[in-house]
């Protein structure tokens, strides 16, 4: 695998900078301290003009000589070292491999540098934000957790991938889809439909929905991974395709839509590369059960967590639009959530033959 970086060595330089910071602090008998931007709701703001979440400039100090932070500091240095190693060797790897690479037992003790991957993952995110380097630039990739099918042709490692000729399985979206790695050679689709669940994506693909409506079907199997989001953004930006998001009718579905549209709170700094402010919410809306005659018995009662999450969403600035407030309030009032799968109650092909055609015909979506 050959890897080219935009500015060769720039990421590596940033990583080595961490070592310099420690050496300089030690030289001056100071406590080595890293400044890490805070990745939380308290440090993001919604840019209405751009329509995306932006990260603020609040930072958290991570010092070595603080009992509570010492271990994290040490772990940060270990991860930085592993990432620098990747840069030098020009390799990409997964989060889990980073965890294994950096895990060892500290000399003369029972203590491990990392006990679970849950400890190393956030450190990689910390480094992404504090070094302002993208995960792809750090040569860390995620699982290929997305699929695409439709009238689009990619160039991947010199291979031509025609997504209209890949049967019903489609093309597995790689985690790194930057132009250097994945090239969009041709695209004749009219729009992109981003589906939350693999089941519905399979249904649509099997029914060749994309051929009939000349669209690209994309799924991320739940919360879409970076590759899928970035690819949708590129199709939107480079091919001027509108993006429609089809998710379950529950607070988590709403949030998936909002992540696609405005970016996530956790990785707000990547919004500018990922967010698609013009993405539309096509369904499942809380108004749909009535409009499409879904019986009440295919709904699921909202549990306490759902209700709390929904109320939280209503307070996010990017959900303040009246239509959205009404949408969420309607769900809370009904006390029910609906899965996309519930549409099968009427007919196995109801989604392909009735629901989506009518939605598109009526231009029934939320912004």
């Amino acid at each position: 695998m050959t890897i080219k970086t935009k500015k060769p060595g720039s990421v590596e330089k940033k990583l080595v900078g961490l070592a310099d910071l420690v050496i300089q602090a030690a030289e001056r008998s100071k406590d080595p301290t890293l400044q890490i931007p805070i990745r939380a709701l308290s440090n993001v703001s919604f840019n209405e003009r751009k329509g995306m979440i932006e990260m603020g400039d609040k930072k958290q100090a991570r010092s070595f000589f603080n009992v509570g932070m010492a271990k994290k500091f040490m772990q940060t240095m270990l991860v930085a070292d592993a990432l620098a190693e990747l840069q030098r060797a020009e390799l990409t790897t997964s989060l889990r491999e980073i965890y294994y690479r950096t895990k060892h037992t500290i000399r003369d003790s029972h203590e491990n540098t990392f006990d679970t991957q849950d400890e190393s993952d956030p450190i990689i995110e910390d480094l992404e934000v504090s070094l302002a380097a993208l995960r792809e630039e750090l040569h860390v990739r995620a699982e290929n957790a997305g699929s695409i099918v439709g009238p689009v042709v990619f160039g991947d490692d010199g291979d031509r991938v025609d997504c209209s000729k890949l049967g019903k399985g489609g093309y597995s979206v790689p985690s790194i889809v930057e132009p250097e790695y994945l090239e969009i050679r041709r695209c004749t689709a009219d729009f992109v439909l981003l589906v939350e669940k693999g089941t519905q994506w399979n249904r649509l693909s099997e029914d060749k929905f994309w051929r009939r409506y000349n669209c690209i079907l994309l799924t991320g199997n739940g919360q879409p991974p970076r590759g899928v989001r970035r690819l949708a953004r590129r199709l939107h930006e480079e091919q001027r395709l509108p993006i429609y998001v089809l998710v379950d009718n529950d607070p988590w579905g709403y949030y998936i839509y909002s992540v696609v549209k405005q970016g996530s709170i956790n990785l707000a700094f990547e919004s500018q590369r990922m967010a698609i402010p013009k993405a539309k919410f096509i369904g499942l809306s809380s108004a749909d059960p009535e409009r499409y005659g879904l019986p009440r018995n295919v709904g699921i009662k909202l549990n306490d967590k759902d209700v709390a999450r929904a109320k939280e969403l209503m307070n996010y600035q990017w959900f303040k639009k009246p239509a959205w407030q009404a949408e969420i309030k309607r769900m809370l009032a009904s006390g029910l959530k609906y899965e996309l799968d519930a549409l099968a109650n009427k007919d196995f092909q109801y989604l392909t033959k009735q629901y989506l055609p009518r939605k598109l015909r009526e231009r029934d979506w939320l912004d």
Binding site: L15, V16, L18, A19, D20, V22, I23, A26, E27, S29, K30, D31, P32, F64, F65, V67, A70, K71, F73, M74, M77, L78, A80, D81, A84, E85, H104, T105, I106, R107, D108, S109, H110, E111, N112, T113, D115, T116
Partner: protein, 638 residues
């Protein structure tokens, strides 16, 4: 409803009731006349009673029976030695008795021979049969004086149990001194008459110059662990560090519990009853039996803490002539006098009848038998319940010996994901004593146990779940010394929960807990400082390595490490931590009547003691303490 039920129970007496008649016609009831019944009524001897109710004396099951036999014999031996002013040297030997020529292994055996030998004063020839083969015969019941035995049932009940289960008589050898002859007896009880039957009585040659040996052959079961003979002897040696115990186990081992304390406990005095502790019936009986000629004289001479003046005053108050003959005082008048006495303010009974173990002795006992890192002991001032003086003593042994950490610590095995170091949630062990005798059964019914549960150990830095014993490597020692320990049953297993006793136990435990808390907090503080620095020291290595690799190996590693270590030292307690931890050679601060064991040795200082106390060498043959120079420095008594 209730009436009907009564009539049914009264069937045999009244046949006039229709319901009863119906019943009697279906199953004819044999009529018995009062004369016939009278012919069947006869006296029951104590021996017969206890033969049938042997569980009352601690012979419920074979395992417990074995323990009870050992216990009764050892109690008698220790009591006798102490009363005679001899440092006790007691040997207990358990042997498996072969059945049909084969000797089963100890864990399978059902018959045992229990032999207990002491170096006590011996017993005069004439008394031997009655002491060992007559229930309720003894020297300890009729006097108010602290001793292990109380009723004179114990050893003869053990003999009776032997007789009942194996049919073998009790064999006794006793010699009162080097010039006296040793007597050998074989005795049994005539259970009907509660009188001894002497099977054999002769003079023999005995290699021991003085002392008594009792041998019983009984049905029993030997099992180690909780409430076993082994545990009982171990606990006995904790509370009786002045005694030397040698134990030949049925498995052929020899266990020695060495003498850790070379002073006999002060001999307790006999006292007269205190008026507060006497019930009215007893008072009447004493009036009949007194040798005094006047009521005032009776009060002043037969009770403690009643002076002639106060005796006269009480009589006047109760409108009783002080010159009246005690035998003539009866009925309502006697009751008025009794009440007056109960309402008069009297001094608490004298406490020289008690012989507490003492803080020093408890400490050496605990230190000898229990491997801990912190020991403390408290002897409360005497208190009174129902007119009986008593003293509560409590002790604590906490933690594990430092050297144990080393032997149990495995080499650092790297931990896989999901693996964790398992914390052992061991609960504290309560060891209970009454007049120096360990109590092994019915723990939860005992006042001491209730007091331990009732204390909030969390205040002292020890974890405790709701309604449970405190958690941690800890042994809690509680001793009640009294002229009359109120047991909940004849088998002497649990101390009754009188308010006064409960309160005293709580106070003693609280003081122990407070000292433990101080020790733990001090240790914790030092350890956390140490841990802080340790954390940095551990991580510095990692950070330096990572930096060096990041810089492509172009870092002066040693220099960076030194610089970081220097920052670490200045940011944590620095050298102060070493001091608190006792690393610079100075021992941890002592607490009153406590021993602290560290890796460097044993520290025991008595707070405020200016003069250097005697140095007592703690036995070094006991396992674990062998190699270390284990010395207890004792301060002056406070």
């Amino acid at each position: 409803m209730t009436r009907k039920r009564e009539s049914v129970t009264a069937v045999s007496q009244s046949a006039s009731d229709p319901a009863a008649r119906r019943k009697s016609s279906s199953s004819p009831v044999e009529r018995v006349t009062a004369v016939e019944m009278g012919a069947r009524q006869r006296e029951i001897s104590v021996s017969e009673f206890f033969t049938k109710n042997r569980h009352l004396l601690g012979f419920d099951n074979p395992r417990k029976a074995l323990l009870t036999c050992v216990k009764e014999a050892v109690d008698n031996a220790l009591d006798a030695c102490e009363e005679a002013g001899i440092l006790p040297d007691v040997t207990v030997r358990l042997e498996v008795v072969p059945i049909d020529g084969t000797t089963p292994p100890a864990s399978q055996a059902t018959r045992f021979r229990v032999t207990v030998t002491d170096n006590g004063p011996g017993i005069v020839r004439q008394q031997i049969p009655r002491i060992f083969a007559k229930l309720l015969y003894g020297s300890k019941f009729h006097r108010l004086r602290m001793s292990r035995g109380q009723q004179g049932i114990g050893i003869s009940a053990a003999g009776m149990y032997a007789q009942l289960t194996t049919g073998k008589p009790v064999r006794i050898i006793s010699r009162t001194g080097p010039r006296a002859a040793a007597h050998f007896f074989e005795v049994q009880i005539d259970t009907k008459k509660n009188e001894p039957l002497v099977h054999e009585s002769k003079q023999i040659e005995w290699d021991q110059l003085r002392g008594t040996q009792v041998a019983l052959e009984i049905e029993g079961r030997y099992q180690k662990g909780r409430a076993s003979v082994d545990e009982w002897l171990e606990q006995t040696s904790i509370a009786n560090p002045h005694a030397k115990l040698t134990y030949y186990t049925p498995e052929g081992e020899i266990k020695e519990y060495v003498r850790a304390y070379h002073e006999l406990p002060p001999s307790p005095r006999e006292i007269k009853p205190h008026p507060y502790g006497i019930e009215f019936g007893m008072f009447l009986k004493m009036l009949q039996e007194t040798k005094s000629h006047t009521v005032a004289g009776f009060l002043a001479s037969d009770f403690c803490r009643v002076s002639p003046q106060s005796a006269e005053q009480m009589c006047r108050e109760a409108k009783v002539s002080p010159q009246m003959k005690p035998r003539d005082l009866k009925g309502a008048v006697a009751e008025t006098l009794y009440r007056t006495i109960q309402n008069t303010k009297l001094m608490a009974p004298p406490t020289n009848c008690l012989s507490p173990i003492g803080e020093k002795a408890i400490l050496s006992g605990l230190y000898k038998q229990i491997k801990g890192e912190f020991y403390t002991a408290v002897t409360r001032p005497p208190a009174v319940y129902r007119g009986n003086p008593f003293v509560i003593e409590a002790g604590l042994a906490y933690g594990r010996r430092p050297e144990e950490h080393d032997t149990t610590a495995k080499p650092a095995v790297p931990k896989a994901e999901g693996e964790q170091v398992e914390d052992d949630v061991e609960l504290a062990r309560v060891i209970r004593y009454a007049n120096r005798v360990p109590l092994l059964y019915q723990q939860s019914a005992c006042a001491t146990f209730k007091a331990v549960l009732g204390l909030s150990w969390k205040n002292y830095g020890v974890a405790q779940s709701r309604g449970a014993l405190p958690a941690g490597p800890m042994v809690i020692f509680v001793h009640m010394a009294s002229v009359w320990v109120p047991f909940t049953s004849e088998s002497k297993e649990a101390i009754a929960d009188y308010d006064e006793i409960h309160k005293e136990i709580t106070l003693a435990l609280r003081e122990c807990g407070r000292r433990l808390g101080l020790y733990l907090r001090r240790r914790e503080r030092a350890a956390s400082e140490y841990r802080r620095r340790n954390i940095f020291e551990l991580y510095i290595e990692e950070v330096v390595e990572a930096c060096s690799r990041l810089k492509g190996g172009k870092v002066p590693k040693e220099k960076l490490k030194k610089q970081l270590q220097h920052i670490a030292l200045s940011r944590t307690g620095g050298t102060k931590t070493d001091e608190v931890l006792g690393k610079t050679g100075e021992g941890p601060e002592g607490l009153p009547h406590s021993i602290i064991v560290t890796e460097d040795g044993v520290e025991s200082k008595t707070a405020g003691a200016s003069e250097a106390g005697e140095t007592v060498k703690v036995d070094e043959s006991s396992p674990g303490a062998a190699k270390r120079a284990a010395r207890i420095r004792r301060g002056a008594t406070v």
